[in-house]
């Protein structure tokens, strides 16, 4: 736990809002660089002993994720319509706990490719979208991708994919043991002339940096790791930040406002403690890493007479260009048991269809992975929607559980300005703050790409010898867990919210770094890139601070 305690009235060097994938990295990097840092996390601080194989709790009852009773959301697909409360199943799903969603992620850690950063230049504009190049290139981010692999802890095999972008270092750990889904996927893909490779995963394949190797319990996605083998910031960045003696992590601290002074500089943040009492943490600079939903929500909620449309929103783009990625699914049943419920969720991936190809008639690309289908209760819920739902036939299907796997085609989302997070005009959360309103409608190309990826997944499972392959319908999404693009980075203050160093164009001592910074969506699996951005941002922010340029 935190060794150092700061008073609210102490002006710390940095206050970091959010302790997840990005916030954890920023806290560790800024505190090890010598700066006093307070991290404010709205959720609880949990320990490995709190983490259980409890599907009902984690998937159905909001165990560590959005509690609708306290933090409701509203959703609409039509930007002209009134958004409706989502109920128990939120539109955007993320963990509210120290470590953020890095506690419950699947831990797929592939890098974005060179093309992701320059796609607009290569392919041209796409009507009705904000499709743009990034202000940085893959080459600039590469050292930080390596830093993620070595400091966070990623298992994988360098050079295994012919489509991999250049890298300066190998992975620090070998790939995790292959599962039957990986073997079958590899078999099918190779028959089709494709290039499967061991999945890069932020899970220890051997003891690494004080954490043990994975025990193959199988409960990764949606669950926190009781073995601490999953490379969540809760287990690496957060304790390392605290060990500096300069970083305090304050749980149950719900930040509601960033305040500014007469010069338009941020003075700190107002937050509510567990009892609902308001505090104000003073800081020389404010870093928001609250995720692609909460960062823009906080900026919009910090509107003032000087910043009437929300803080750092002179571009009008805060909250806009939400991208969630699309995951198209097929499930497959084989003759013998796979037992996918054991071990990590994914062991084989292909990137053969990563690049967009105009000949397909739509923009998009993606990666496919072989995985668990998922754990029992969630799997069986879905099963009843994909075939018989009761009686002897349903019972027979239930017994197929060990012989089942799925393939997911992870794909692009185009940045569309009307896809957005904003403040709901009527619904309030338990603290009286405007609820998160989500507006989302997949671009037609995103759906076309999803169908394309699903076709490829189906071919691979057929080539692998599946007895039965089932497509999940490709419908417009109203649920997402990749929260991207809502405070995009760019060189032009009129068309972006933060600059290439994650500094807001409008407020010199306010930085934003999380999924909101992304300009394009990649092809799914954004956490690796979010953390590379966080390492890079921390380097530059520390440099500015040392030079007196904040």
């Amino acid at each position: 736990m935190s060794a150092v305690r700061y008073r609210d009235s102490t002006v710390v060097d940095f206050v970091v809002v959010g302790s997840g994938a990005a916030g954890g990295v920023l806290a560790r990097e800024l505190s090890t660089s010598g700066f006093s840092t307070v991290v404010l996390e709205q959720g609880a601080r949990l320990t490995p002993a709190d983490f259980e194989h409890d599907e009902l709790k984690y998937w159905f009852l909001g165990g560590i994720t959005n509690n609708d009773g306290r933090s409701p959301q509203t959703f609409r697909s039509d930007p002209e319509a009134t958004a409706k409360p989502t109920g128990m199943r939120p539109a955007l799903w993320y963990a509210r706990t120290v470590g953020g969603s890095s506690t419950h992620f699947t831990a797929n850690y592939w890098r974005f490719h060179e093309i992701d950063f320059i796609e607009r230049s290569k392919l041209g504009a796409i009507a009705g979208t904000g499709f743009e190049d990034w202000p940085i290139t893959y080459a600039e981010l590469e050292p930080y991708y390596s830093k993620v692999e070595w400091d966070i802890g990623v298992s994988g095999l360098a050079g295994a994919s012919p489509f991999d972008p250049p890298r300066s270092r190998p992975y620090p750990m070998p790939p995790l043991p292959v599962k039957s889904s990986g073997v079958l996927f590899e078999r099918g893909a190779r028959k089709l002339g494709l290039h499967p490779f061991p999945a890069p995963m932020a899970i220890n394949s051997k003891a690494y940096r004080g954490r043990p190797a994975c025990i193959n319990c199988g409960f990764c996605h949606g669950f926190a790791c009781e073995a601490q083998a999953k490379s969540s910031t809760l287990f690496n960045m957060i304790p390392e930040a605290e060990a500096t003696g300069r970083c305090e992590v304050r749980a149950y601290s719900y930040v509601v406002r960033v305040d500014t002074d007469a010069r338009g500089r941020a003075t700190g943040v107002a937050y509510l403690d567990r009892a609902g009492r308001e505090h104000f943490q003073k800081a020389r600079a404010v870093v928001l890493a609250a995720n692609g939903a909460e960062t823009p929500r906080l900026l919009l909620g910090s509107a003032s007479s000087r910043f009437p449309d929300g803080l750092a929103n002179s571009s009008g783009l805060v909250g806009k260009y939400l991208m969630m990625n699309y995951s198209a699914r097929v499930s497959a049943v084989f003759e013998h048991e796979l037992n996918e419920y054991k071990s990590v969720q994914v062991t084989r991936v292909i990137h053969d269809f990563y690049d967009a190809d105009p000949r397909r008639g739509f923009y998009g690309g993606g990666g496919l992975d072989a995985r668990i289908g998922p754990q029992p209760a969630m799997w069986a819920q879905r099963l009843g929607q994909e075939g018989p739902s009761w009686g002897a036939a349903f019972k027979a299907r239930l017994r197929e559980f060990p012989r089942n796997m799925i393939v997911l085609g992870h794909g692009t989302s185009l940045p569309v300005a009307t896809n957005a997070v904003s403040l709901d005009p009527t619904v309030k959360d338990a603290w009286g703050r405007p609820a998160l309103r989500v507006t989302y409608k997949d671009h037609p190309d995103d759906l076309a790409n999803a169908r394309f990826m699903q076709d490829r997944a189906l071919e691979i499972m057929e080539a692998a010898g599946a007895q039965r392959v089932t497509r999940a319908p490709v419908n417009e999404q109203n649920f997402g867990m990749h929260l991207l693009g809502t405070c995009r980075m760019g060189n032009d203050a009129r068309s972006s919210v933060v600059d290439r160093y994650h500094r807001t164009h409008d407020v010199p001592n306010l930085f934003l770094c999380d999924g909101s910074s992304l300009v394009t969506s990649g092809r799914g699996q954004p956490t690796m890139t979010i953390q590379a951005l966080a390492f890079r941002a921390a380097d530059h922010i520390a440099r500015f601070a040392r030079a007196g340029e904040i």
Partner: protein
């Protein structure tokens, strides 16, 4: 063998894994849930489980009347029937649902109760002289369910049945792990490879193998 390709037309969503996916497909269930959501997410999981364990051995129902409980018990027994292996009845699914509606799924309870009443009324109207769904023969029950299997009420009970069969036994269902046993899930804390049939003789990854 050529695989069967099934294109399912169910109006489910396509997100990877969705929480609380479709427990409340029915409009009324959803609206009811919205009115009461403060209790939807549990504040104390330990307390919830302690109550569930009590409920398992209890002879009284927490939410259902005995008549409602009889209908639910008969329904879940048709969803996962008992044959040479245990079904929903042996798994304690009706107790799980009763406990869930009294506790962590209380927002769904009023609408489910309404749906249940409607289910019984229409069932009796179709079966002259019958005392209720639970008193029909199994053949009659199956024939009736074939007529109502696409109703939101049946859907909700189906999904609660699945949760009752396969959630941690601590919540009152999946008695003695019978649900997990049915599907072939081993509740162990750790595993070692090989995990399944196809990874037993895997020769190791060879990047060159794919190049032609």
């Amino acid at each position: 063998m050529s695989p069967t390709v099934v294109s399912d037309t169910a109006a489910s969503d396509t997100a990877v894994h969705e929480p609380a996916a479709a427990v409340h497909t029915r409009r009324e269930l959803l609206e009811s849930a919205l009115a009461l959501l403060g209790v939807a997410a549990v504040s104390g999981f330990a307390a919830t489980r302690a109550l569930a364990n009590e409920a398992r051995s209890s002879t009284t129902w927490r939410y259902f009347s005995s008549g409602e409980a009889a209908t639910i018990d008969a329904l879940v027994a048709q969803i996962i029937p008992s044959d040479d292996t245990p079904g929903a009845r042996e798994m304690g699914v009706a107790r799980f649902i009763d406990h869930a509606l009294a506790d962590f799924m209380a927002p769904l309870a009023p609408a489910l109760r309404l749906g249940l009443a409607e289910f019984e009324v229409t069932c009796r109207a179709q079966h002259a002289g019958a005392e209720g769904f639970a008193t029909l023969s199994s053949e009659q029950q199956i024939a009736w369910l074939q007529q109502v299997e696409h109703t939101p009420f049946f859907n909700s009970v189906q999904q609660l049945t699945v949760l009752g069969a396969l959630s941690m036994p601590d919540y009152g269902g999946n008695h003695n792990g019978l649900g997990w046993q049915l599907i072939g899930f081993e509740d162990l804390h750790a595993f070692t490879p090989p995990f399944g049939y196809y990874d037993r003789d895997y020769p190791g990854f060879d990047a060159a193998a794919g190049k032609s």
